[in-house]
Every structure is written in structure tokens, then in C-alpha cells.
Symmetry: C2
Subunit: 513 residues, 2 copies
């Protein structure tokens, strides 16, 4: 008899992604007959790296659980040690059943309240940064917004305001050449209003051209754009051109800096932390390292009273049935379904379709069902109950784990999260995304050690060592502690590098006219 196949014993052979799972994932190519301590039987077939192995018997028709969540049902009887894939795993009737609010789980226990050092705002929000923003109603005022920020920098007086983090021009490509009454207009409108309100700004100067569709009086409305009143606006046409607008803009910002500088960091409960979660340039490790680790960190923050935002609707498509199960009420669950239907219409009228099914390459890598694939993205949302569903850039008022509709496209999705109120971003990446999102700091979580080694100057946390045996729980704790430090002022890698001047990308919809 041949000897039992040998393993690279310096590295774990398999990983279990959640205590409730009945499948584990091979981290190496494993031969038939391999003995694994996690399973009471030798492998019944060879299992390639990234594929699933049953760690307990699963009767035909029973649910297969990965990430602590349903990825399908056994279409045949499955024994412990069986390779689980397209031959014995299918969708079942799961995709027909939203089962609203049927899977509400308790949050992890916490030791006691935790705090971060933040900037309290008059409206009750707390900033993790204290920037002055120059918001633009239209692309046509974008250059002048930048000129104002450059003039402030040249003059050097920001050094007199140690509690102000800087002046940030928020420039984009839209605001005119559009209908003034459609969904695209409403979306940009919410986005601009949301930025004006974000607690990481200590004051906002809104600069327009004058003749644009996105009119400043409409944006301001009858109320004020900021609860603290540290808000001013001007148009280039009314002010008399570029040079005069720069001059007046700089003078106004200096007055606003006086006000913003009076706010200082104070202890704030974690209920004031709102973290936008994001995934960009994902790879085969995203779903087994960084995303589950972020999900567990999300559960920790939610247990402490904080808020985490899942988005990227196009990437969770097919796993919406799991979010509806976690919805605190059927009404909240129905909002997820409404957004999914909206997306099907949105892509259809743009000549495309929603399709998140595993590709041949996905299947080769071990992903079997659309649920499982989408769960790779949903995994960063942990297991906490879903307390509310929001449209893109809509103000988030509920605490806990929430969903904000957005494309998967990173800069656009993060823009919506910040407009909705995010004061921190947590961003998992496999290929290595480099980006920042002023005024909100962005923590980069690398999914694999190879990329982390190559791009460590851009990455804040290596989640690749989960493959080497670091537990998801330990990694989640590391991420959670970093949340608190960054929220309290510790600079992220992307902040040190100066990112955040190009990544304001409102979701553009509708015809450009």
C-alpha cells in the first residue's frame, strides 16, 4: 500500500470559515486518501486548492453551509471527506424563498464599551477627521475649487489651525448637460448634500459656476446644508470670474477655519462610528481571508453599537436571499428585493443584464453556486441583523449593519457611502487597489501575503496570513482595534501618500445632453 500523501506541513491544508460550516476549504491541492485532523475520515477524492470538502455527512436535500450561511443543498448524499462541487451541490428552491427575518442571530459578546477620539458635530454626528471641503455643483467650477485649495496651501496659514486637517476640493464630471428632474439628478443632488453633511468636514464652501442645471439655491433649499452653520457658497459668474472667486474663496475659508479649529477630539462611543465596507480588485483569496475577517470585525463593531455599511449591489446579486433572512423586519427585507428588481431594470434599459453566475474560471477555482460566489462579497457583512436598506447617498440614520445600494465600482460605491455618512472606510483588495477618499480615511486589507509583500506601502493590514493559520477571529480583532486607532487620528497608508483628490465619483445615470 502506498504511503499516505504528504502535505506541505508548514502551511495549513484547509480552512474552516465559520464555526457553523459543514464544508471546509482546501488551501493546497490535496490527494485522495489525505488524512485531515478536521475530518474523521481520509479524503474520498482528490480536491484542488480552493475547493470544498464535507467535514461531516450531509443528507440529500440538506443545506450546505459556508461562511455560516447557506450556499445551496446537497443533490446527492454527501459523506465526510467528500469533494463538494457541481456534482453534488445545487441551488435547491432557495432562490425562490426570501424567508424574511428568519435568520436573526445574536451578536458576539463584548467586554464593555469602547471609545474613539473624534470631532463632535452639532447635529450629533462625530467626525474622524476635520477637513474643510470645497464642494462643486458642476464640473465647470472644478478647476476654480482646486485653485482655491492651492492658494490656501501656498499662503501657508493653515498651520495656524492645528485642529484642521486641510482643505479638500471635491471635483466631479457632472452637474450640467443633464435633465433637471430625473433619477440621475436626484442621485447627484443627494450625493452633494451628503458630502456637505459628512461629519469629517468641519465646514463646507460650495462653489458653482452659475448657469448649471444643478443650481446652488436648489441644493441649499429652505434649510441649511450643515447643522453647524459653517457653510458658505458662491458662484463664479456672480463673483466676477476666476481670480475674484479664488480671492474671496480663500478669505471665506480662513473664516471657516477659525470656526472649525475650535472643535477638538473628544472621547466618543462606537455608536458614532459608521464604516463603509468595500471590496475592489478581488481575487480567489478575498472570500476566504479578508472578507470573512472584515465580516467578523463588522460584527464586533455592531456589537459595540456601531454601524457598518454593505453595498455593491451588482456583486451581491444572487445572495440577496441571505440578506432578506437577516432583515430585522419583512419591510426592511422587501427593500432589498425592491433594489434588486430596480437593478434588473437599470441594466436592461442600458442594454445589459445582471449576471453574477460563477464563470467557468470561478468553477475551476472551486465556486459552485451564485449564492456561494456572491457570499464571497457578502461575507464582509458578517452575520449581524440587517437593520435598514438605503438608496445610494441617502442619509443613514439606523445603527447596526445596514445596506446602501450602489454599483460594485469602488470609487462610485465609496462616494455613496461617504455621502450617506460614513466616517471610515474598510476596503479589502486582492489585486491591490490604491486609493483614498477624502474626507474619510480608508483602511486597506490585503487578501494575500504575496500582494501585501509587493505593495506593503499601500496596504494597512495583511489578511493573507489567515492562510498560514492566523484565525479569522484574531484578524477581526486586529482590524477592529485599527478601526478605533484610525478613527482617533492614526493615518492610514493612503492618507500618508496623499490620496483622495481624484476619487469623488458620483453615480452618473441618464443621458448626457
Amino acid at each position: 500500500m502506498a504511503p499516505a500523501p504528504t502535505l506541505d506541513s508548514a502551511k495549513p491544508a484547509v480552512i474552516r470559515l465559520h464555526p457553523h460550516d459543514n464544508v471546509i476549504i482546501a488551501l493546497q491541492d490535496l490527494s485522495a486518501g489525505t488524512l485531515l485532523p478536521q475530518i474523521g475520515a481520509p479524503l474520498l477524492q482528490a480536491v484542488p486548492r480552493g475547493h470544498k470538502i464535507a467535514c461531516a455527512p450531509i443528507v440529500q436535500g440538506a443545506q450546505v453551509i459556508r461562511y455560516g450561511q447557506i450556499i445551496g443543498v446537497a443533490t446527492l448524499p454527501v459523506a465526510a471527506g467528500d469533494h463538494v462541487h457541481v456534482h453534488n451541490l445545487g441551488m435547491g428552491a432557495h432562490d425562490q424563498d426570501y424567508a424574511f427575518s428568519s435568520d436573526l442571530r445574536p451578536l458576539p459578546a463584548i467586554d464593555g464599551p469602547r471609545y474613539f477620539m473624534g470631532y463632535p458635530r452639532d447635529d450629533g454626528q462625530v467626525g474622524t477627521r476635520n477637513y474643510l471641503g470645497i464642494l462643486t455643483s458642476v464640473n465647470c467650477s472644478g478647476s476654480v475649487a482646486r485653485f482655491i485649495a492651492e492658494a490656501v496651501e501656498r499662503q501657508g496659514w493653515l498651520a495656524d489651525f492645528p485642529h484642521v486637517d486641510g482643505v479638500v476640493p471635491i471635483v466631479h464630471g457632472s452637474g450640467c448637460g443633464m435633465s433637471g428632474k430625473d433619477e440621475g439628478y436626484a442621485t447627484l443632488f443627494r450625493t452633494l448634500q451628503g458630502y456637505a453633511r459628512n461629519p469629517n468636514f468641519g465646514g463646507i464652501l460650495l462653489v458653482g459656476l452659475g448657469c448649471e442645471v444643478m443650481q446652488i439655491p436648489d441644493l441649499i433649499g429652505t434649510g441649511r446644508m450643515r447643522g453647524d452653520g459653517n457653510f458658505r457658497y458662491m458662484t463664479i459668474q456672480q463673483t466676477g470670474g476666476t481670480r475674484k472667486t479664488i480671492e474671496r474663496g480663500v478669505a471665506v475659508l480662513r473664516e471657516m477655519a477659525e470656526v472649525a479649529n475650535r472643535v477638538q477630539r473628544q472621547p466618543a462611543g462606537l455608536q458614532h462610528l459608521m464604516i463603509g465596507m468595500q471590496c475592489g480588485g478581488s481575487d480567489g483569496y478575498s472570500g476566504i481571508t479578508a472578507n470573512p475577517a472584515l465580516g467578523a470585525a463588522s460584527d464586533l463593531l455592531v456589537a459595540h453599537g456601531g454601524t457598518t455599511i454593505l453595498s455593491e449591489t451588482s456583486e451581491i446579486y444572487g445572495a440577496e436571499h441571505l440578506l432578506t433572512r437577516r432583515a430585522v423586519t419583512p419591510e426592511v427585507g422587501a427593500k432589498i428585493v425592491e433594489r434588486i428588481r430596480w437593478w434588473e431594470d437599470y441594466t436592461a434599459r442600458n442594454g445589459g443584464e445582471m449576471d453574477n453566475n460563477p464563470s467557468p474560471g470561478n468553477k475551476k477555482g472551486g465556486l459552485t453556486t451564485i449564492l456561494e460566489k456572491s457570499l464571497g462579497a457578502v461575507a464582509k457583512g458578517g452575520t449581524a441583523p440587517l437593520t435598514q436598506v438605503y438608496k445610494f447617498a441617502e442619509p443613514i440614520t439606523e445603527r447596526g449593519f445596514v445596506f446602501m445600494d450602489s454599483p460594485g465600482y469602488d470609487p462610485c460605491s465609496v462616494t455613496g457611502q461617504i455621502a450617506s455618512g460614513a466616517n471610515l472606510i474598510a476596503f479589502t483588495t486582492g489585486r491591490g487597489s490604491v486609493s483614498g477618499y477624502k474626507p474619510t480615511p480608508c483602511i486597506k486589507l490585503a487578501t494575500n501575503s504575496e500582494m501585501y509583500g509587493r505593495m506593503s506601502e499601500d496596504m494597512d493590514v495583511n489578511c493573507g496570513d489567515i492562510i498560514d493559520g492566523v484565525t479569522i477571529e484574531a484578524k477581526a480583532r486586529e482590524i477592529f482595534e485599527l478601526f478605533i486607532r484610525v478613527a482617533s487620528g492614526e493615518q492610514t497608508k493612503s492618507e500618508e501618500l496623499g490620496f483622495g483628490g481624484a476619487e469623488f465619483v458620483p453615480w452618473q445615470m441618464g443621458a448626457v445632453m
Copy 2:
């Protein structure tokens, strides 16, 4: 008998926009009975400012001519001195009849060839500027492109290359989160390729992230992105992150600056000038001052062998029948019609519609028909034959007066014109647009003296004095001479102010995913 109504005699009472016109435009509110030297009879009715007066009898059914072009037909007999408006002017059957190539007019006579001093390129194009461009395939490399340009500026070595105008990062909001095969992808693809080829660049560094939909190998294809070979590319992921990409980008640009600096300005015939014409923030004067003056300047340039580009399809909608008449062949005319049909579909599938009909406000201001309103925009295209019709950002290869399809939205339309090859932009504005479009200089033509006075630091030419008696022909000559000086290196107002870093706005189509 009452005395003849008096006029503000310091200012002209009326203006004739073209020698062939049978209507003239009131520049003041005129009372019935006013005697005008242009008409052999007193005014038969009161005529408000901006409205039309027949300067000769027009028989019922005959064409009414403004801008030297048909704006409709007389629905009643019209006498010299009659107010011409909705009561006696209608569309007739004109809107049913494309009459391809039926109105080909001779160009103005020229004194002899003229030259500008430009940068000759290997592919036969001639630049009016000599920039190094940092092109980005995706928003995710935008910040790094800016960091590279900033590092070059900080290091100061550009001073060693006196024939290089600077380093321009070309940053945008798209390139990923999109289909890789639809019209939106093809449009961005053409736009990026077109910028790489624009003769105002002496070299291009293309920077990508690595995992984006808009892949650099696809952009480069089997050929080269630039005929002169002064082209390099890199991705941030392959180069190993932000700092290494900045370091390598700066080193590569220094090598490219050596090459670009060898090119020097030389005399070039006006057949090498390609001017994108644009109108932004138009007002009641646009159609009677700056636009007709630019149109006459366009005719002058075309007579000298040069190329002018009319665009802004949504703003010429309704006047396409005049462009089809000017098309050199029915095939070229049919392309205009095809674009108009495409726009009707594009706006419909985005839940809108094409509608350029005169609004109640337009009518109060004196505009009667959709032809007349659209002609205000078409007027900047002069009267030269239409030699070809192009899609947005398609390479322009024909000389003479051409059309490139685009939205009316200024930064987007100009972006397409530059991608198509424009080495100069001429931009009329009534409300006062401030913008620049590196690498291509932009000449601002003010439509009225009030705005020019208020924003003269941003405006290159005041066309408002046409109201005071300066002829359109004289103004056209002034603009034409400025074309040659700016093409030869004279800085425009927007260049002096440093514009051009925020106005790259590719036409975004399709769903953001």
C-alpha cells in the same frame, strides 16, 4: 401728429446677421412708426428687442432667411417693416425634407496662404502646444497620475526642457465598473486613444491600476498609440504600488521630455489647424453676436484649408435639415440623420426625449421656430460645405467644416473634439464659462459687453460690441487672427490662469456596475 419715436441713437437699433437675410433683429424695443434706414418704410408694429423685422416684402409661402439660412416660411403675406413672429412665420414642410447637398456655397475669397508656428509630428499632424500627458485607463490610477505630475513639478527639471509646456495628468471617473463590450466602453476606448494621439502632446505615459475593465494591452492593441513612438505605459499593481510607480513614472517622463524637447515650432499651413467650436452658458446674444462671428471666422479658416468642428448634437436638434443641405454628398448628409435618430433612441431609453423647441421664454425673446433656435447654435458653423460626420472621439481625417457628434455639455463635448484631433478650441459664452482643456488652448468669446466687462480676466474676445456696430465680418477677422496667434503660442486667458486639470470628461454611457 406725434413726433417719430426716438431711439437711443448712441447704439444701433437693429442688426442684420447675414447679407442674404430678409429679416433683421431689433437691438432695442422699437415703437410702431420708427424709421429705420435699413427699411424703406416705417415699422408697421411695435417690435421688442431681440425680435425680427422684415426688411423686404415676403410673399406667403416664401422662405424667411436669418443667418443666411432658412428658419421657416411666411404663413401670411409679409410687408417690409412687419414684425415677424409666430403670427406670420411657421415651419412649412421644411422639417420633412433633408434636401441632401442642395445648398453648397462658395467659400470667402482669401488673400493668400497663412501660416502658424506649430510643432510638427511624425504622423503629419501639427501641435499648437507641446505637453507631456499622463493618461489614465481608470479612475483608480488618477491620484497616482497626479502624484507623478506633482513630483515632476517639485523636482524642477522641466526648466531644462524649454520646448516642453508641462506635464498634464488626464484623470477621469470611469474605466471600470462597466461592461467591456458595449457602446460606453467603445466610446471611452476611442477617447483615450484619441488623447494619446492628439498633436498637442509630445509624449504620453499611460498609467493603469492593473485589474480594471479598460485594459492597457487592449488600448495599445497591435499598433502603437502614437506615431512618434514617444509612448510608455505601466500599471501600479505590476510596478509594486504607489511610491514605486511615482518614482518610475518620473524617470520615464524625464526620458520622454528629452525626446519631446527636440521638436520646435515651425511654420505650418492652416490646413494643420483643427478647431473645435463650442458654446456654453449661452444667452440671448449668443445667436446674434459671438456665434455668427465665430461662424464667419470658421468660413475664413476653412477657406484657408483648415478644419472646424461643429458638435453639440442635442443643441442643433431641429436644424439638422440645414446641415444635410450643406453636406458634400448625400452619404455625408445621411450620417447626420443617422446620428439624430441615434439620439432620439439614446434619450428615450434613458427616460427622456429630444426637445429643442422654443420655450415660452424663448418666444418672448423673439425666437419663433425650432429651426431658428437651433440655428443660434449652428450659426457658429458658418456656411461652408459639410465635408464629413464623425462619432464622438473618432479620428477626424477630412479637412474643412465637419461635424462630430456629442452632447451639448461643454466639458464632455470638448473632450470628444480633442480626442478627435482638435488642436485649438473656440468657445462662445454668454453667462461666462471659465474652463480650459489641456493640452488644447481654449479661446473664450464673450457674447455681450456686460459680462465681458465683469469677467474680462477670463474672456479673450468681446463679441458684445457687435451690438454697438462692429460688423460680424470685422469680428470674424479679429477672431481668425487670434486663432493664428494662439496656435503659434500666445497664451489664452484660461491658460494664464492654469485651467485644464479638471475638464477631461469622457461621455459616460451605459450602466455603472
